[in-house]
């Protein structure tokens, strides 16, 4: 609120920095203990390591087959994002540009589905997924993410399309552009800001999702990072030295993704939720 830098601002700044340090303490614990030996962790978890051991990481890398889990997570997240963006943006645009009862009812049905908890559909979905051959396959889970991703993404696109002026589209159509031409060449590039938001929100959700992959991806080769980490924990309960290294490997990719794009992510989340 205050735009000048006063003594009061300085005090607030100190408070903010102290709170931030407090917020980061859990990461301190994970990082320092991930390079300690098991006995050293038991002696004092808060102390800095006397000797930095990377062997924890090397072991875990092998056991959880990190490259494979990373690749599975990556391919699932990327393909799901592409599909969700394509189908939701197309549908939202057409629904906004075709006003009428049908579009309105459809929109209400799709958006209301956001309150359906995953647990409510998961049991029949597994049965249906079995019948449609979607179980135990990466394309299968990607298709499921398409379905779960539509409500929020369509909602965000729907709100955004309303702010896009229709005149440019009309001009293009008069010049002989087809509907698809208008959408892909003119509208879709204009939707870029909201596409960024949609991709960010879906990436955080899909990358970190645990229950759907647990139910759908049953063979070890198809495991995503959350699945690999949790099965590691189940097997080596309280083996904190290796467990923490596994956690570091598990959280590193998404934290790096966030730090690289943090400005866009924070802006995108703000835009996405206030709209």
């Amino acid at each position: 609120m205050d735009q000048r830098y006063t003594k009061r601002t300085f005090v607030l700044e100190i408070i903010g920095i102290l709170l931030a340090i407090l917020f980061l303490i859990p990461f301190y614990f994970v990082i320092i203990n991930s390079v300690k030996s098991f006995s050293e962790i038991l002696i004092d978890a808060a102390a800095l390591p006397t000797e930095i051991l990377f062997s924890n990481y090397a072991k875990v890398w092998e056991i959880i087959q990190f490259p494979r889990a990373f690749w599975n997570s990556l391919i699932i997240t990327v393909l799901s994002n592409i599909g969700i963006v394509l189908i939701s943006s197309m549908a939202a645009w057409k629904m906004v540009r075709t006003p009428g009862k049908f579009s309105k009812i459809l929109f209400v049905i799709i958006v209301s589905a956001m309150v359906i908890p995953f647990q409510t559909v998961m049991i029949p979905l597994m049965k249906l997924g079995g019948a449609l051959n979607l179980i135990n396959s990466i394309p299968g889970i990607v298709i499921m993410y398409f379905g779960f991703g539509v409500p929020l993404s369509l909602f965000l696109y729907h709100g955004f399309v309303k702010t896009v002026p229709v005149e440019i589209e009309e001009a293009a159509r008069i010049d002989g552009c087809s509907q698809f031409g208008v959408f892909w060449r003119i509208v879709f590039p204009l939707l870029k800001p909201i596409t960024v938001t949609v991709v960010i929100l879906n990436t955080l959700w899909i990358w970190n999702d645990y229950l759907l992959p647990l139910l759908v991806l049953q063979t070890a080769e198809l495991r995503t990072i959350p699945l690999a980490t949790s099965s590691f924990f189940a097997q080596y309960t309280k083996q904190w030295d290796m467990g923490l290294a596994a956690l570091m490997l598990g959280i590193a990719p998404i934290i790096i993704f966030f730090l690289f794009l943090q400005r866009h992510i924070i802006k995108g989340i703000a835009a996405g939720s206030v709209k």
């Binding site: 004092d44 808060a46 029949p124 645990y210 949790s230 924990f233």
Partner: protein
Amino acid sequence: METKMESKVDPVVPNTSGRTKLHDVKGDPRRKAKLKSILTYTAFVGPALIFFFVIQIIPFLMGIYYSFTSWNGVSSAIEWVGLENYKRIFTNDEVFFNSFMFTTKFMFAAVIISNLIGFGLALLLNAALKTKNILRTVFFIPNVIGGLLLGFIWQFIFVRGFASVGELTGLSFFKLPWLGDETTAFWGIVIVFAWQISGYMMIIYIAALQGVDNSLLEAARIDGANNFTLITKIIIPLILPAFTICFFLTIAMAFKIFDLNLSLTGGGPFNSTQSVAINIYQEAFQNNRYGLGTAKAIIFFVVVAIFTTFQVMATKKREVEA
């Protein structure tokens, strides 16, 4: 194929006046345009609609059906039992009832605490701090990590980290049997949830605060309003839409808590921190009672829907048009 084509064209033909019947569909430009617009509508909206219906709506309807059966998830014979599952849940399922109580209590505590912290951080970071961009990033970081891994991280903090800090500082707070006792395990999950979610709420509140007109605040300050009245009488009423969204999001997230709960306490000690989502999961996939599980899931849906609609209506009513 032939009949399908016909039925698609048919409704269009008798729709218009009698004389057009003499024409071929291709001949009437108006009808041709209408057919074309239906086709493009289908081409654009259809894909999203198909995936949405197949993945969410059909399973949802199947779930309603299964909730009236004694299906065990394996056998192909699905026996209709009427309201039996619901009767059993309401009269004879203490564990489910307890998990609902836990989830509701947790929801209230988690929603209040994470929104207080989120709003507080937003007020703090809306000031002209030099480090404000870095601080926003820091407070947001826990959000990018999935609940499952966060739960494992905090299990370590509670079990080993707190013990070490307790020994160093002598503070009894850190020496509590975190995760080992019903009360502390409850607050343990609340702490981790708030740590994860507050940064997200902060971002939404900051976005809303930036929309507040500074001259309004200046005017109030000249009239002698202190910071407290400024916040409660002007800022909060102006940014109520943000509260609607934040409450909606946190209520939904807290109600559906699964991953974090599973990896942090696993529902223990003695099922005291078992969320509804975990209870449903176990009923279906560990006890192999799919019929009973779906009945619970339908009840869960109804409760979540009622809570969130109620909350959105309640806060929406108070919003002022800016």
